[in-house]
């Protein structure tokens, strides 16, 4: 019985990691499409998201099959539960990447408007958190996962700063208000992506250590 379960878990792990990789690549493309105002790349992000959605359903079905057929316990149960939740978080990161990429079309209408905040730094931090959260899952590294939860504060702070800077810019150049609202949305989306990376890290901590650390904040 265990060898069947092991094989099923390995197969689920492979599917989840492959989905993670796709989500990470799509986020990078979305960030790049904004930076370069690249409409073609933004379309590719939207197309890839359909694949992400399909794979998310497949991973969920795998998890349900495992629960129904094998009634896993202990580490196996924690893995399936963590996989279900991480799967959902990855799909949401995928949606937010699309939401970022969609802004390219609007921003091309405002060629003179530029980011009032350090977009590259914010994007770099959010991407790094997603990357590290996936690394923590691959390596089953709860220490790294705990570090990611702490990193989220930095992204929150950058987003807060972005909001202030956008408000200032709207006052200065009200003719570009529409563009600044898109910049604001991008900042908010990146901040949400970092939150989902934090969720993934929290699920890795549960998977490895069995501790539910959500809502613990600074006590991590």
């Amino acid at each position: 019985m265990s060898s069947h379960l092991d094989r099923e878990i390995d197969s689920l792990k492979e599917k989840l990691l492959s989905l993670s990789q796709l989500v990470e690549e799509n986020l990078s493309m979305a960030v790049k499409s904004i930076k370069n105002r690249d409409l073609e790349l933004s379309k590719k992000v939207r197309a890839t998201d359909s694949d992400i959605d399909k794979r998310e359903v497949e991973v969920e079905e795998e998890c349900l099959k495992l629960l129904a057929l094998y009634q896993p316990v202990a580490i196996d149960l924690r893995f399936v539960i963590a996989a279900l939740k991480i799967n959902n978080d990855l799909e949401r990161i995928g949606d937010l990447s699309v939401s970022i990429a969609k802004r390219v079309r609007f921003l091309t209408e405002f060629p003179t408007a530029d980011f009032p905040y350090d977009y590259e730094e914010l994007a770099k931090e959010a991407k790094s958190m997603v990357k590290k959260s996936i690394q923590s899952l691959v390596a089953m590294d709860s220490q790294l996962a705990r570090q990611i939860c702490i990193d989220d504060d930095k992204v929150d702070m950058l987003n807060k700063k972005s909001i202030e800077l956008v408000y200032n810019k709207i006052s200065e150049k009200p003719e570009n208000t529409q563009a600044y609202i898109h910049f604001l949305s991008i900042s908010k989306n990146l901040e949400r992506i970092a939150d989902y990376a934090t969720n993934i890290a929290e699920d890795v901590i549960y998977l490895v250590d069995g501790d539910i650390v959500r809502h613990e904040g600074a006590e991590l």
Partner: protein, 247 residues
């Protein structure tokens, strides 16, 4: 403490089958014992009402305290002890008598002076068997199905009004439907009696028990709340066993 086992070793001749067990069992709960074959869980269970006394060469060292008294101490009557700590076995073992007489047999030889009819009804209701057998109480117990026979054995134990019911793989000879009925019964018995159940079926341990003990090679490796054992066991051996990676 309700049942407190201290430094318990059990030997079969030279072989130590149970090694230095220290365990506290709480009143009114269902406690499951799991572990691979030969790990000593049935031996430990049988030691709790001195059923091991019947096994030639079996020897016990250490203490099993029940309501503060060591059951292996002087002046302990094992027959009286077994009326307080009853037992249900792997295979249903009704007496070759009617359903009615199966129930009253124990209380009768122990000098019960109450109303036998009431006792039979109460015990059969307690074992969720009354509705199925109330019109044929004087038929042979062997006419019952395997699942009904096992519930009759539980009713027989319940009729003695024990404090504890020990169950040694009570569902291993039953089909899934009868197993579910016995499991429901175990849940109904909780609170009124303390139940200690040995089972090879880990899903059953997870379903019916409040606390679980994992034994391996005669030792008690881990004892905790069942939900903890099955989601976050503290010991690697427990995790490997319950996830089917050994045993």
């Amino acid at each position: 403490m309700f049942i407190e086992i201290k430094n318990l070793d059990i030997f079969y001749g030279q072989k130590k089958a149970v090694k230095n067990i220290n365990l506290k069992v709480k009143k009114g709960l269902v406690t499951a014992m799991i572990g691979p074959s030969g790990c000593g869980k049935s031996t430990l269970l049988r030691s709790l009402n001195r059923m091991n006394d019947f096994i030639p060469g079996a020897r016990v060292e250490g203490e099993v305290n029940f309501l503060g008294k060591n059951i292996y101490g002087k002046n302990i009557d094992p027959v009286e002890l077994r009326s307080k700590i009853g037992m249900v076995f792997q295979k249903p073992n009704p007496f070759p008598k009617s359903i009615y007489n199966n129930i009253i047999w124990g209380p009768k030889i122990n000098g019960y002076e109450g109303d036998f009819d009431e006792l039979v009804e109460e015990a059969l209701k307690g074992a969720a068997l009354w509705d199925e057998v109330k019109d044929r109480l004087h038929e042979s117990a062997f006419a019952l199905s395997g699942g009904q026979q096992q519930r009759l054995c539980i009713a027989r134990a319940v009729a003695m009004k024990p404090e504890v019911i020990l169950m040694d793989e009570p569902c291993s000879a039953l089909d899934p439907k009868s197993t579910l009925r016995v499991e429901k019964l175990i849940n109904d018995l909780k609170g009124k009696f303390s139940v200690i159940i040995v089972t090879h079926n880990m899903q059953q341990a997870a379903r019916v028990s409040d606390e679980t003990c994992f034994m391996y090679e005669g030792e008690l490796i881990e004892h905790d709340k069942t939900e903890t054992i099955f989601t976050k066991p503290a010991h690697k051996k427990t995790e490997d066993y319950i996830t089917g990676r050994f045993g």
